[in-house]
């Protein structure tokens, strides 16, 4: 039993950890820029319902396909809906799904990867070949298949993406954990007679938290791309909820006449993904990981 006094110590420790990560991010210019972009996006995602000038479904029949003006800062779409409102609201669902999906991915994928590295032997061998087989199928294809079969819905999207990206995380987490499994402090814990759960929880996982954090950031970025692609194809966030991917699809036929309906959502999505990637790269560099070899599936 841990005494209660240990709890504030733990909290203080995690605070220190975050402070350390914050500092290392701020040290790189790219990281700072990325972080700023992400913070702006997160603020908009949270606050947009209170700051948008119209409801996302309000139709201004007189102003269809309008160019940006004082009344409609980003213009309107073919129905006369305000694009500024829709762009500001359009990230909420996708970001929410991406963050939750990435959390699920890192949770199960990370845990399984670490356990496999720790257990080793035949279990590891067999399961990793299975992971290899699953990884051979492009992620988006798998997600598309499941979504088509089970239908679109937030829970289906979150779970499907959480599963698909978790498979990649198994690999990454296992690789990172392998570097520690053979180290002397784990050997020391074994020789001391520590229980295996304690070795994994107390000795191994604290060393992998930063890898998992970077992994979370990157999976969230991929998941966001994936959701937007699905929405574009009509399998992601279902109307009437505004969504960037969907908006690009809806407005692309008008691209030649009125590019605003395509441009603004694309800019919003691109800036967020670039922001996450800049922050993620700076983060991984700060904690000594090289992500340059890793490409999205």
């Amino acid at each position: 039993m841990r005494s209660l006094s240990a709890v504030p110590m733990r909290v203080a420790q995690s605070l220190r950890w975050f402070a350390h990560i914050w500092r290392s991010l701020r040290r790189s210019r790219q990281g700072t820029i990325g972080l700023m972009i992400v913070i702006v996006h997160m603020f908009i995602a949270v606050a947009s319902p209170y700051i948008v000038p119209y409801a996302h479904h309000d139709i201004d029949g007189k102003n269809r396909l309008a160019a940006p003006s004082a009344e409609h800062p980003f213009g309107t779409d073919s129905f006369g809906r305000d694009l500024f409102t829709r762009v500001l609201l359009g990230g909420r669902a996708a970001i929410g799904v991406a963050l939750l999906a990435a959390a699920i991915a890192v949770l199960w994928g990370g845990l399984l990867g670490i356990l496999l590295a720790f257990i080793g032997g035949r279990v590891d061998e067999v399961l990793m070949r299975l992971v290899d087989a699953l990884l051979a199928i492009p992620g988006l294809l798998v997600v598309l298949l499941i979504v088509v079969a089970l239908g679109t819905g937030f829970s289906v999207l979150i779970l499907t993406l959480g599963y698909a990206y978790g498979v990649t995380t198994v690999r990454v987490a296992r690789g990172a954990a392998l570097g520690y499994v053979a180290s002397d402090f784990i050997t020391a814990a074994r020789a001391r007679g520590e229980r295996k759960t304690n070795i994994v929880l107390r000795e191994l996982i604290p060393n992998l938290l930063d890898v998992l954090l970077v992994e979370y950031v990157m999976r969230a970025s991929w998941a966001l791309t994936a959701i937007s692609s699905l929405s574009y194809l009509g399998f992601g966030i279902a109307p009437p909820t505004p969504d960037w991917g969907r908006m690009v699809f809806e407005n692309q036929v008008m691209l030649a006449i009125s590019p605003w309906g395509t441009l603004f959502p694309v800019f919003a999505l691109a800036s967020l993904i670039i922001g996450i990637n800049l922050a993620g790269d700076a983060l991984s560099k700060a904690i000594g990981l090289d992500r340059s070899q890793e490409a999205p599936t």
Binding site: R2, S3, S5, A6, R27, R122, S183, D184, F185, T187, A188, A189, R190, A191, R192, G193, E194, R202, E203, P206, N207, L209
Partner: protein, 699 residues
């Protein structure tokens, strides 16, 4: 052209921190080297030795800058040269031989090609001439079968062979100055002896000047004519090696020399308190003040300058100390103390751990073993074979041997991490389960391990508090308050303060980390502590302190040690009994005094002969070749292939008998004891060293 090969004048270098501060690394270093001179550079880690060595190639680490002074090689200021001109000097006129040859060589390139590359680059050689020169260079460094060797990849060579290849590469451009950065650190003692011999020979035949950077006083004594001592980025003493070793005048040099354990002396070396200041930490005055017994107000306020001592000689003797005359007059330099109350060899001492005919193998198990058998793969010879030994309560049994001799394997087996293939292990009269999981908690508590490298054995994410909590939580019923008090007390016991509780390993020095590792082991109140090369990753000064700590803890707590080491001088300082191991087989076992006196087992003799003693003139003998052996022979004596005293086919065919020399002293060899007694190896007696003045017994 000036006679001086190298002139470093007032060199001050620094680097810029993230906060924008410029911290000094080298401070006002002035030093000259004549042609053909061999200069040793010693100092603890972090004193700027390597940084200095690299400036001789006009190189600074990224972010580094020259703040003042110059490095002139034959009159040319290296830091005033452009990249192209520097490239012409590097490798061709000044070459560096790095510490770790295995990481300095490209793993995917054949050895021959790598040397050829240097020759083409610097001398423009090609074709047959090039090939010939490559072979010549490899022969020059005494590598065998050079024709085949050029086609090998670095991973196919042993550590000693790689170091020879690195030396050959260094020599390829026929440089006038070789910078050797810890070239023998990490090599076995016999291999080191051969490399040192080779360096000396190269120096004598080619007249190449050498800067030999090392923390190993013995190696320096073997190779160098002159010695410079570096502390906190400054040269504090500089003089002929005989002068400096015989009577060092800087307190730091005295401290360093005193902390080196000696083969010829059965006592603990004197530890030096404190650690060198990190860049930017030092204030005004002499940097050594906090660790100096001679320091006074003058030292705290006025920077001492390098001045000549009164000693006359071909090489001027310089020292940077306000009180060198007082230091010199104080007489005794490094004092050695026999702190450790040696266990009397007592037949009635209660046995604690008994290993009987233990065989250990890394052979495949389970399914993989069946597959191997089905494929008719030959079974690999056992790593450790017929290992029988007893450790008594409260004694220190040392296990010595070169790398690969199975020392750590035995420790792992005792700890239950690697089950033996055969044999019996008893602990305190009880049968000890082979796997750690099968042992009761009480057994876990009684057997503790301390590892070689505290960086690896302490979890970098844990605070010292968490590290010490682990054994307390496991073995004792204690509440949080109790554990906190106990942790604090343990830290006091290893001479740290409870202030360290909140620190992470990354915030401590190597010696401090190893103390925490020692505290963790003793938190369990163990009966037996397995010390696996616990001091070999540490500076000599820190090593002396840790040895003293271990000896003190043993005296207070009565724990037994299985002390694994490759360093025979360290073993002599701390062990009660010694077992000499070769290829997982015991060659000789006996009380420490017996082991270090004839008759020797030929392997023990080889090892002892190879140890470089930190005394000029003490030249080691090379008895056996440093041919690495991957596997022990299947029958006969394990040392048959390298034995300098082989007597014939009996050595190949029959297992050597155990010959009883004295109470508890056994030598396994076919050679009669009377013959073994006539050894060529004669350890310099303490009296002899005392007359040289390097060590004065604390009488």
């Amino acid at each position: 052209m000036s006679q001086k090969l190298l002139e470093v004048e007032g060199l001050t270098t620094g680097f810029r921190t993230q906060a924008g501060q410029v911290l000094q690394v080298l401070r006002n270093v002035s030093l000259e080297m004549q042609r053909g001179e061999t200069l040793g550079l010693v100092g603890e880690s972090g004193c700027g030795k390597t940084t200095f060595g690299m400036t001789l190639l006009g190189h600074l680490r990224p972010g580094g800058q020259v703040m003042a002074g110059s490095v002139r090689f034959e009159g040319v200021d290296l830091f005033g040269l452009g990249p192209d001109e520097l490239a012409k000097i590097r490798g061709q006129r000044v070459a560096v031989i790095p510490q770790s040859a295995s990481s300095a060589l490209t793993p995917t390139m054949r050895v021959g090609e790598q040397i050829a590359e240097v020759l083409t680059l610097h001398l423009g050689l090609a074709g047959a001439e090039l090939q010939e020169r490559v072979l010549e260079l490899l022969t020059r460094v005494h590598l065998p079968q050079v024709v085949e060797l050029v086609r090998r990849f670095p991973h196919e060579l042993s550590g000693g062979q790689l170091q020879r290849v690195a030396i050959a590469m260094g020599l390829a451009g026929k440089p006038e100055l070789l910078v050797l950065d810890e070239p023998t650190t990490g090599l076995d003692v016999t291999t080191q002896a051969h490399i040192l011999d080779l360096l000396r020979e190269i120096q004598e035949s080619t007249g190449t000047a050498m800067l030999y950077i090392s923390h190993d006083m013995g190696a320096i004594a073997r190779v160098c004519d002159r010695l410079a001592v570096m502390y906190a980025g400054e040269i504090v003493e500089d003089g002929a090696i005989d002068d400096v070793f015989a009577d060092p005048v800087h307190p730091y040099t005295r401290g360093l020399l005193g902390s080196v354990p000696r083969l010829s002396y059965a006592g603990l070396p004197q530890a030096m308190a404190g650690r060198p200041p990190a860049p930017g930490e030092d204030a005004v005055g002499c940097a050594f003040v906090p660790r100096c017994a001679f320091a006074d107000e003058t030292c705290k306020t006025i920077d001492p300058a390098l001045e000549a001592t009164s000693r006359a000689g071909a090489i001027p003797h310089l020292v940077q100390c306000h009180h060198w005359q007082r230091v010199l007059a104080s007489g005794a330099s490094g004092q050695m103390r026999d702190l450790k109350a040696r266990m009397e060899q007592d037949a009635e001492a209660e046995p604690l751990l008994e290993l009987t005919e233990v065989d250990i193998t890394y052979a495949k198990r389970g399914l993989a073993a069946l597959v191997a058998r089905w494929r008719n793969e030959p079974e690999p010879p056992t790593t450790v074979s017929g290992f029988t030994i007893t450790i008594h309560r409260g004694e220190t049994l040392a296990l010595v041997g070169e790398s690969g001799s199975g020392k750590s394997t035995i420790a792992r087996t005792i700890a239950g991490l690697l089950p033996p293939r055969a044999g019996q292990i008893d602990f305190g009269g009880q049968d000890l389960a082979s796997a750690v999981e099968g042992r009761p908690a009480e057994m876990h508590r009684k057997i503790q391990i301390i590892f070689q490298n505290p960086d690896a054995s302490l979890n970098p994410r844990h605070t010292v508090k968490q590290i010490l909590d682990a054994p307390l939580r496991l073995y004792f019923e204690m509440d949080g308050k109790g554990r906190l008090d106990r942790s604090g007390a343990l830290l006091e016991e290893v001479r740290l303060t409870p202030r360290y509780l909140e620190r992470h390993p990354g915030q401590m020095s190597g010696g401090e980390k190893q103390r925490v590792a020692v505290a963790r082991a003793f938190a369990a109140e163990p009966d037996l502590v397995l010390c696996d090369e616990v001091t070999s990753a540490l500076d000599v000064s820190v090593q002396a302190a840790v040895l003293e700590l271990l000896a003190g803890l043993q005296a207070n707590r009565g724990a037994a040690y299985l002390f694994i080491s490759h360093d025979l001088a360290v073993v002599r300082a701390i062990a009660d009994r010694v077992a000499v191991l070769y290829q997982g087989r015991i060659c000789e076992v006996g009380p420490v005094a017996e082991i270090y006196a004839p008759p020797y087992h030929p392997y023990t003799e080889t090892l002892l002969a190879a140890v470089p003693e930190p005394a000029p003139g003490a030249r080691a003998q090379l008895l056996a070749k440093d041919v690495p052996e991957a596997e022990p022979p299947t029958r006969g004596c394990c040392f048959q292939r390298r034995c300098p005293r082989r007597i014939g086919s009996i050595c190949d065919d029959e297992a050597p008998p155990s010959q009883f020399v004295a109470e508890g002293h056994i030598i396994r060899c076919h050679i009669p004891l009377a013959d073994l007694g006539e050894s060529q190896v004669d350890l310099i007696s303490p009296a002899e060293i005392a007359t040289q003045g390097a060590v004065v017994d604390g009488k």
